[in-house]
């Protein structure tokens, strides 16, 4: 806190420093002033690192059949492995897979699908939104009517429809999520671009004879980014949940690449025999991931919203 205060006071004393302080630094300072948001960010960082370094952190590679021991199947949390070299902190599933290892490897798939689809959808949606705002006329109405149509149906319905036709697979799931998500970015980018294009700085750029393309990419786009970043962060959480739901229903990722949703589905059959841990812990991991992303996204929304700034 004191560092921020110092920065603020020097900024007041020295107008040069004020000019040098970039908007992003102010946003960062604002962001870190919320304890829950920092908590979410730290949590998220731990999860992402754990997923990236899963092979180093986990006691076994859950998809290397050589490392699995069927004798160790359905062990309760804390049980020692048959070889006695390590213990299964969170128990094992029906094939003797360590749940903890399974979660970290599953997290890799969940995060990749969530972040990947949000990124692709973000780029495609933003470009289409800018195009709609800039081209106007028929192009605009075709793009925006498609957006309206997509957004008027619940995501799960559209996803089921697409996957019923495409079949399961990681790429098909990503494609489905992209089809579902781009509309949000397109709508926001178009709205923001229309507002920005009437500002003086755009007028000034036009007066200088800068090409349309450079005005859109170099001047309008950067000013459209804040709301798009907020949407992006919340869409990652939505995508991860939806992917898990679809995988749980058997429409998402294949068994060879199990995400958290599929791990939960695997435990379904053991629920009635009271072996809760197979579904319980992957679900907790999913919940913690989504809550962490939502906490960060919620704070970003407050920090980046110009209407809330003094």
């Amino acid at each position: 806190m004191s560092a921020i205060d110092n920065a603020a006071s020097t900024a007041q004393a020295d107008p040069q420093a004020l000019r040098r302080e970039s908007p992003w630094r102010r946003v960062a300072a604002d962001f870190f002033s919320s304890r829950t948001a920092v908590f979410g960010l730290v949590l998220l960082a731990i999860l992402v690192l754990a997923a990236i370094f899963a092979p180093l952190v986990t006691p076994q590679n859950p998809y290397d059949l050589m490392q699995l021991d069927v004798m160790d199947a359905r062990l309760a949390p804390g049980a020692a492995s048959g070889t006695g070299t390590y213990s299964y902190w969170l128990g094992t599933d029906g094939q003797g897979r360590d749940i903890f290892s399974g979660i970290l490897y599953g997290l890799r798939i969940s995060l990749t699908v969530g972040v990947g689809s949000a990124l692709i959808a973000g780029i495609a949606g933003t470009l289409l939104g800018l195009l709609a705002a800039y081209a106007g006329g028929r192009v605009d109405s075709v793009i925006m009517r498609t957006v309206d149509l997509l957004l008027s149906f619940p995501s799960i319905l559209v996803a089921m429809m697409i996957l019923a036709f495409l079949g399961k697979g990681v790429l098909n799931v990503v494609l489905t999520l992209v089809i579902l998500e781009w509309a949000y970015y397109a709508r926001a980018a178009r709205g923001q671009a229309l507002v920005e294009s009437r500002r003086e700085y755009v007028e000034a750029a036009r007066g200088q004879g800068i090409s349309n393309w450079r005005i859109v990419v170099g001047h309008i786009l950067p000013n459209c980014l804040p709301p798009l970043i907020v949407i992006g962060s919340l869409q990652v959480a939505r995508a991860i949940t939806l992917e898990a739901t679809l995988s749980f229903l058997g429409l998402g990722v294949p068994v060879t690449e199990p995400s958290l949703g599929l791990l939960i589905a695997n435990g379904y059959q053991f629920m009635l025999s009271d072996e809760y841990w197979i579904s319980f812990f992957p679900g907790i991991a999913l919940l913690v991931t989504v809550v962490a992303i939502n906490l960060v996204g919620d704070r970003l929304r407050d920090v980046l919203n110009p209407r809330l700034q003094k």
Binding site: F165, L249, L251, S279, L287
Partner: protein, 328 residues
């Protein structure tokens, strides 16, 4: 007030029809993009002549636009083909299962309102109260909770561990209007509790947040202060003035949410083996029973478009501001 409602209604109706039409085109195109239906319908041992005859009989030798018109013609008469699994008209299969889904969705929304509105009212009236903070944080968790996982945990806790409630099925049903319903029998109600809670979880958070936001918006208004200054009791101000004005946006959102509740019932129905349309559609997807998939999509889309239309009309009728704007 003389001409606008009819003209507006006509335009809105035309829009709805266009959406349904667009969806049939997408579904039809989707069906054709994935493969030749002939390969599924006709066995390998059929010779070329017989094959050509069947193709001609099914109209598959016609140009695509003509096939589409034939498909549309059948759809208008409620004929979307027979289920490949059950060998009965697909549309009939869907309509048989729909009441169970509607029952579940209505129960979930009812629960969301009964729990969400009082809690949201509290959080809106006393925003600084510790309980309000707990409620708001709780609603973020409610949004983040994966519905299907919560369903499993509910079964784990209340069916397996405690043994209080059944883990699946509809239980005993009683007939009303020629359709079997679970909520009419004690056993059916017991079966309904867990699925309804599961499906309502997300909606409770939504209703809570909406009610709170509405109350926060309405409280500082002049007419609320006036009602207080008039000497009305706090209960009457809250119930008669604050809550009533919070209800308009809430009703709108709930109307729209009804459709998504039906769609998300797919997840809940599959966890609790609730024999509704959602369970049927998933089974059909796994069995590649295309006529049933298409029928489900068309029925749900029609349901959706109708719901949106009703909500729009109600909104116009309920909100004097919208009414006045349109009249001016």
């Amino acid at each position: 007030m003389s001409r606008w409602p009819l003209r507006w209604l006509a335009r809105r109706l035309a829009q709805s029809l266009l959406v349904v039409l667009a969806m049939t085109v997408i579904v039809f195109a989707g069906l054709h993009a994935i493969g030749n239906p002939v390969d599924i319908l006709i066995g390998q041992d059929v010779d070329q002549v017989e094959r050509a005859r069947i193709i001609a009989r099914l109209g598959l030798d016609q140009p695509l636009w003509r096939q589409y018109l034939a498909f549309l013609h059948g759809a208008l008469r409620g004929d979307l083909g027979n289920s490949l699994v059950y060998n009965v008209p697909a549309i009939q299969l869907i309509l048989q299962r729909l009441p169970a889904t509607l029952e579940l969705a209505v129960a979930a929304l009812l629960l969301a309102v009964l729990v969400g509105v009082p809690l949201g009212l509290f959080a809106g009236l006393y925003p600084e109260h510790p309980l309000s903070r707990v409620l708001m944080t709780g609603s973020i968790v409610g949004f983040s909770l994966p519905t299907f996982w919560v369903g499993l945990m509910l079964i784990m806790a209340f069916s397996v561990r405690l043994g209080w409630l059944p883990s699946g099925g509809r239980g005993a049903t009683a007939e009303w209007l020629g359709v079997p319903w679970s909520w009419l029998t004690a056993d059916g109600l017991r079966h309904l509790i867990l699925p309804a809670i599961n499906l309502s979880l997300f909606k409770v958070s939504l209703v809570l947040r909406l009610t709170r936001a509405g109350v926060r918006e309405v409280l500082p208004q002049d007419w609320v202060r006036f009602a207080r200054a008039k000497g009305l009791s706090p209960q009457r101000v809250v119930l008669g003035h604050v809550l009533r004005n919070t209800m308009i946006p809430l009703v709108t959102v709930l109307g729209l949410e009804f459709g998504s509740t039906i769609a998300f019932a797919v997840v809940t129905e599959n966890i609790f083996a609730w024999p509704g349309a959602g369970k049927l559609i998933l089974d059909s997807i796994n069995a590649l029973d295309r006529p049933v998939i298409v029928s489900y999509l068309i029925v749900v889309v029609c349901l959706f478009v109708t719901l949106n239309l009703i909500v729009d009309v109600l909104y116009k009728l309920l909100d004097p501001r919208v009414r006045l704007e349109a009249a001016a």
